[in-house]
């Protein structure tokens, strides 16, 4: 019997060996951080500080009244230099708070452990998570306390922790499992308590045998927490794929994991939850892999949120001569950056630099109807049709062919021998269908 998995999907080169044996190092304190007020999917925050204010490390500097949002904290101590429009890593613009760091790293007053697993109630835990500004750290950046708020009438019986880390190159979840297994488990228990479930499954792709071993050992005496091995396959870490593989349950199209009794969180999110409870520190730093053939010395780092990319690349020995593409996130879903002064956000788990010969310019050719895209789509869609309809703006057909069910994994574009930019078309088409629907209602 092989390991658990979903149907279809792809097997890209994983290239994890560039950094998977590199223990986390703490990045140097940057002289300046630029903290975006749009750190997650949801409402942007409003600043609580103004130009010239002094802030302490861990001090809340922005918040929002909206439920689907999470506050933002200063990752250094220092002076607010300005509040201005900045470019975010996903190519949008937002407001950002620029802080000039002092040398002190003065911790904000009142940062202390708010309690422990046994004396915190589920609501306490959710509140701590919200106040700590924790969002999904696998890249999607959905506010975690929202995910943990189970609406009336929904029954949840499982917590799933995503340790698949199926994006090639990235190794932060892998290193977390090796270096901080006990914090992961503590975080898992807090999350379990927050949603009142007695069962948790941690799914790990089998290309991380050392992590699997350590996590198995760490959970040997834990009731209700199970480690399961997953086949190494992309996009194994997608929520729907993960749930299918681990519990053989299918998230209905247009639905959420909640609808079938599951809440999914990322390994690194569990560590952040553990830190928030054990030490009382909000989410002001996180882990990142700075890797790829375009940097001299691939590395795993703990960095302050708001550090610009160039600083992180410096820690990895700088760019190589032939570096030519800088991506925030993984190679399948990450965003290519136009410059190196873009500031990192809570979801930045990878800085991937590809060298010139890896950045082939893909010259799309006519589709030969080979159906490879259809054969790999984990959502059983027909990418060849979807991309055609999107290009011709045939919105009814797009909806008919379930474009809204696309998880934007990029598997179709990856596999196409004609190098057609399938997902790019589909994404645009999908957004237009969503916009049209919104206008109608």
């Amino acid at each position: 019997m092989g390991s658990l998995t979903f149907k279809q999907g792809i097997h890209p080169e994983y290239n994890k060996e560039l950094s998977n044996t590199k223990a986390f190092q703490k990045a140097k304190r940057p002289e300046q951080v630029i903290i975006s007020l749009q750190q997650h999917i949801g409402a942007p925050c409003q600043p609580l500080v103004k130009k010239g204010d002094h802030v302490d490390m861990g001090e809340k500097i922005a918040d929002s009244d909206s439920f689907v949002s999470a506050p933002i904290h200063a990752s250094v101590s220092g002076t607010v230099k300005e509040i201005k429009t900045i470019q975010t890593p996903i190519g949008k613009s937002s407001q950002g708070i620029v802080i000039d760091a002092d040398e002190e790293d003065t911790l904000a007053k009142g940062i202390a452990s708010p309690g422990s697993l046994s004396d915190l109630s589920p609501d306490d835990i959710k509140k701590i998570i919200r106040e700590a500004g924790i969002v999904g750290m696998g890249g999607a950046m959905f506010p975690t306390h929202v995910k943990l708020s189970i609406p009336e009438g929904k029954e949840v019986d499982h917590l799933i922790l995503n340790g698949a880390e199926c994006e090639p190159y990235l190794t932060v979840d892998h290193r977390m499992m090796i270096e901080r297994p006990n914090d992961i488990i503590y975080g898992t228990k807090l999350l379990m308590k927050a949603i009142s479930v007695s069962k948790a499954i941690i799914g790990i792709e089998e290309n991380k045998p050392d992590a699997i071993k350590i996590m198995k050992k760490a959970t040997a005496n834990e009731d209700g927490i199970e480690i399961k091995e997953l086949e190494t396959k992309y996009p194994q870490g997608g929520e729907k794929m993960l749930i299918k593989a681990l519990l053989d349950r299918t998230v209905p199209a247009g639905g959420l994991p909640l609808d079938i009794g599951v809440v999914v969180n990322n390994i690194t999110t569990a560590v952040a939850v553990s830190d928030a409870v054990k030490k009382g520190v909000p989410l002001i730093e996180r882990s990142v892999s700075v890797t790829g053939s375009g940097v001299n010395n691939p590395i795993n780092l703990i960095y302050r949120i708001g550090t610009t990319i160039d600083k992180l690349i410096e820690e990895a020995g700088g760019l190589t001569e032939d570096a030519s593409k800088v991506i925030l996130g993984g190679p399948m879903t990450g965003f290519a950056q136009p410059s190196l002064d873009i500031a990192t956000v809570k979801g930045t788990s990878g800085v991937l630099v590809l060298s010139k010969d890896e950045v082939a310019d893909f010259n799309p050719q006519p589709c030969i109807k080979c159906a490879r895209c259809v054969d790999v789509c984990p959502q059983y869609l027909m990418p060849v049709n979807l991309s055609k309809y999107a290009a011709k703006e045939m919105f009814d057909e797009l909806e008919d062919y379930q474009v809204l069910n696309c998880i934007e994994c990029g598997s179709c574009s990856f596999i196409c021998p004609a190098k057609r930019p399938l997902m790019q078309y589909i994404k645009v088409g999908k957004n237009e269908v969503i916009a049209k629907k919104r206008n109608k209602s």
């Binding site: 090639p168 890896e358 027909m382 069910n405 790019q424």
Partner: protein, 305 residues
């Protein structure tokens, strides 16, 4: 440490190494055993037919693309495949000018008039063969070898009901017929390689061959004989699986294969031709848009509650 020229393009930032050209040339390579078998059984003539057919296809593709001011893509391997496949459907006695005409029709009418690679609804090699069969019926069914006119196994069956060939000869290819109608072994070898590489669908040939087997059996024919006789192997493994002209859904491929197989048997057992493979595939090619439309896979979670 500013970098001047960063490439900014949309994700995914990595792509599989396989290109259209890789796939096409793999098909060409997989046909080498069949060509060698043809040359072994039919001699130098077979070699000349194959060469002229490939040459004709490349030349036609070149001329069309030049005339239309399009990029010339004769090295993508697809025209070579058409040339090879067309040659393999021709009798060893075919005259070379006829081969040239056939290859020009295959690429010209079968492919380029529709806009080139990827846009043609019918398999170009089959279009070429259908044309030759209509234009030169006598030459196309002249199975003379070494000055002696022989009947193909299917003619024999159609005319006399007696089995006069051994299964083994059929399998290996030591019988009269078109160049590639003969060695089932060589064709299976090549196709196995392509299936292993994931370049052709196994559902189509399996569907087609099994339906021929089953239906012939049900109607009292000799299923094994029908499997290895005529152009069935070549058609099922190489023509029906042509990706451009076959369905893109899994269930569509099954239906396509089964449908083609059933048509083959209908024509062979009750039709006016001894051989139905050509028409079975061309007919099924016509159903592909319909098949693709009505066999859309159910998307993940669709209809789930």
């Amino acid at each position: 440490m500013m970098k001047e020229q960063l490439v900014v393009s949309s994700s995914p930032h990595i792509r599989s190494a396989t290109t259209v050209r890789d796939i096409m040339w793999s098909v060409v390579v997989s046909l080498i055993p069949a060509v060698l078998a043809a040359v072994y059984f039919f001699g130098i003539n077979a070699f000349l037919i194959v060469s002229v057919s490939i040459f004709g296809c490349l030349l036609t593709e070149f001329l069309f693309q030049k005339a239309r001011g399009k990029e010339v893509t004769i090295n993508d391997g697809s025209a070579v495949i058409t040339g090879l496949l067309l040659a393999l459907t021709l009798p060893p006695t075919a005259s070379l000018w006829m081969v040239l005409v056939g290859s020009a029709v295959a690429i010209g009418l079968g492919k380029q008039v529709f806009g080139g690679l990827g846009y043609n609804p019918f398999n170009p090699a089959l279009v070429g063969r259908a044309f030759l069969l209509a234009a030169y019926p006598v030459q196309m069914t002249n199975w003379m070898i070494d000055g002696v006119t022989t009947a193909t196994p299917l003619n024999v069956i159609a005319e006399s009901q007696y089995m006069t060939v051994e299964y083994w000869d059929l399998f290996i290819g030591n019988v009269a017929g078109s160049l590639g109608e003969t060695s089932a072994f060589a064709l299976l070898l090549g196709a196995a390689y392509l299936i292993y590489k994931g370049y052709i669908s196994w559902r189509i040939p399996l569907g087609m061959l099994s339906s021929v087997f089953i239906v012939t059996y049900l109607f009292g024919g000799d299923p094994i004989f029908h499997l290895f006789a005529g152009g069935l192997m070549l058609g099922a493994l190489y023509m029906a699986t042509d990706m451009v002209t076959s369905p893109i859904t899994k269930s569509g491929r099954w239906i396509f294969g089964f449908g083609a197989g059933i048509i083959v048997v209908i024509i062979r057992l009750w039709g006016g031709y001894p051989e139905g493979v050509l028409y079975s595939i061309l007919l099924m090619n016509m159903t592909v848009p319909l098949l693709n439309r009505y066999t859309r896979p159910r998307s993940f979670g669709e209809g789930a509650k």
